[in-house]
Amino acid sequence: MGSGGVGKTTIAAGLAALSAQRGSRTLAITVDPARRLADALGVAVGLDPGAVAGWPRLDASMLDAAAAWESIARTHADTATAARLLTNPYFRAVADRFPSGQAYAAGEEVLRHAHGGSYDHIVVDTPPADGGLTFLAAPRNIRTLIAGRALRLLTGPRLPGRRLIYSMTARPALMIADSVLGGRLLEDVAEFLLDLSTIYPGVARRSREVERLFSAATIVAVATPDPGPIAEARRLITDRIGTTDSPQIMVFNRVLPPEWASAPRAADPIGANLQRWAAEASRHDALRRAFAANTGVNPLTIPWLPEAPGTPQGLADLMAAAGLEPLS
């Protein structure tokens, strides 16, 4: 997990390759646009787990947001309700844009594979939103969406069949709202939420299982040595301290060798160039030390390379050199 552009996908792919190399049956799942994982592992990544060529214990798959919501609807609703939901314009809008839905669907997918018994380890490459916090909060957020405030405000406590009964408190508001929005928008939304609410019992049960799975997961937070990404990663790690016994792994990616900071510099263009990079290296080292002091978690570092390795083997070697051990 981590914010955008820090090398999350590369590190997820590398961890998966290293785990497979050490003998574990491993699945890498990306919730990010799949091309990145495909590039990193050199495979075509599809919706179903596909084998990585030359790597018998390593599979990769991606998650499609809209397809994920469809599967949630089909799994948890009866056929007629599922059909109504899937043709509702709001459903499409929610599926495309509600990040927690996508993350939750990934959670259900991970749960399915975890129970399936085909894999020893599953490595999830999370979407960058909020550095991963949205992903971890998804099981709870989806329950809130489905049985949330909107539904309670727009509808009464009892739902007699498909007939929509607005609650008394919402009624005057709705009359005004209708005049502002110019029509049946709110009513349509409420109808949609009613249909959505029928999937609540199934989702509530499964989401608690996903929550348990997430709380037992090892979080690998990734940041570049920059204040923004580090702040996101720190939030991710400190939010979890005390709520889980699982290890917290912090990875700083694109880090310069700390020894550059104090290396002697020649009085020539190469020495002058080193002086600039030494300032940068010294900044990286200061950030790493500050992170360790503030969180008690000592970051592992991956060197700044002109280009990430283009093969699973190269990625696995990079992770091993950084001291990222495959998860037990």
């Binding site: 929610v94 844009r97 405030r149 310069l256 002109p306």
Partner: protein
């Protein structure tokens, strides 16, 4: 090319990690130094923009911070403000609660409310310039297109009229400009280019400038000088620099950026970064 700051609204976007917030903050600071009345708006939780403007915590109400004002766009607060201005009715609390619930549920409404707030602030006489630290390129299109989306869902009424007004303000190149930030790497450049091609084709908003950020300086040594040196750290740093430059050139040619911001070595704080970049805007 027309000066980037010579508009009422700048929307700064780019792939995550390209320095979007730093560029947005620096544009605001540069305009503030010129004596313009500037509002910087964050369209996320605001932590990035706050850090770059040396502000503590940001709220929906504009607060002064050096030469500029800064605030976050909170969709619920923005909707409440809209309702208070447009719908003068009793029992507003109940209306707002229902609307807030709808905002949480229907993403088109949330996006429209947020971009609507940004557009509204940019038309107020209180500000000469509004700079928005907009969502990353992957998500900003849905905000720019939200007024059209909502107009498609709503049959008529005040909201539809508002949506049409927002679309015209966003599409007016005299008023609104997009600033698209990319670092000279493959994915950021690809994303920036496809985003710019998309908005140009759909005419939702005009691009004021594409910006190449964190561009490494050309080295004044070459590979053979490196081979001859006895300084091992100097050789490693030089080799990394040359390898990065080689890749950077292709991506810069591909992007053809209107503006270039150099890589700032050893910059300790986000605030310092902002001021250094603002110095650069000062010269254009």
């Amino acid at each position: 090319m027309r000066a980037v700051l010579n508009r009422r609204l700048l929307l700064v976007t780019g792939k995550g990690g390209t320095g979007k917030s730093a560029v947005a903050a620096s544009l605001a600071v540069a305009a503030g130094r010129r004596g313009l009345r500037v509002l910087a708006l964050a369209m996320d939780h605001g932590a990035g923009l706050a850090r770059h403007l040396r502000a503590t915590t940001l709220g929906p109400a504009p607060q002064r911070c050096g030469d500029v004002h800064v605030a976050v766009v909170d969709p619920v607060a923005a909707l409440d403000e809209y309702l208070r201005m447009r719908v003068r009715v009793p029992r507003l609390a109940a209306v707002s609660r229902v609307f807030a619930a709808v905002v949480e549920t229907v993403p088109g409404v949330r996006d429209t409310t947020m971009i609507g707030k940004v557009v509204f602030e940019s038309t107020r006489p209180r500000w000469d310039l509004v700079v928005a630290d907009a969502p990353p390129t992957g998500q900003v299109s849905s905000f720019l297109e939200a007024p059209a989306t909502i107009a498609g869902l709503v049959p008529g009424g005040a909201v539809r009229d508002q949506a049409a007004w927002m679309r015209s303000v966003l599409a007016d190149p005299q008023h609104t400009g997009l600033v698209v930030v990319a670092t000279p790497e493959e994915l950021p450049v690809t994303e920036a280019k496809s985003f710019m091609a998309g908005v140009t084709a759909s005419r939702t908003a005009a691009v004021a400038a594409s910006v190449a950020n964190k561009v490494l300086p050309a080295p004044d040594f070459d590979g053979s000088a490196l081979a001859g040196t006895t300084d091992s750290s100097g050789r490693q740093a030089g080799a990394l620099h040359l390898a990065l430059i080689e890749r950077q050139q292709g991506h810069l040619m591909d992007l053809k950026a209107d503006r270039t911001i150099p890589f700032l070595f050893g910059m300790r704080t986000a605030g310092e970064t902002t001021e250094r970049i603002a110095d650069l805007w000062g010269t254009v």
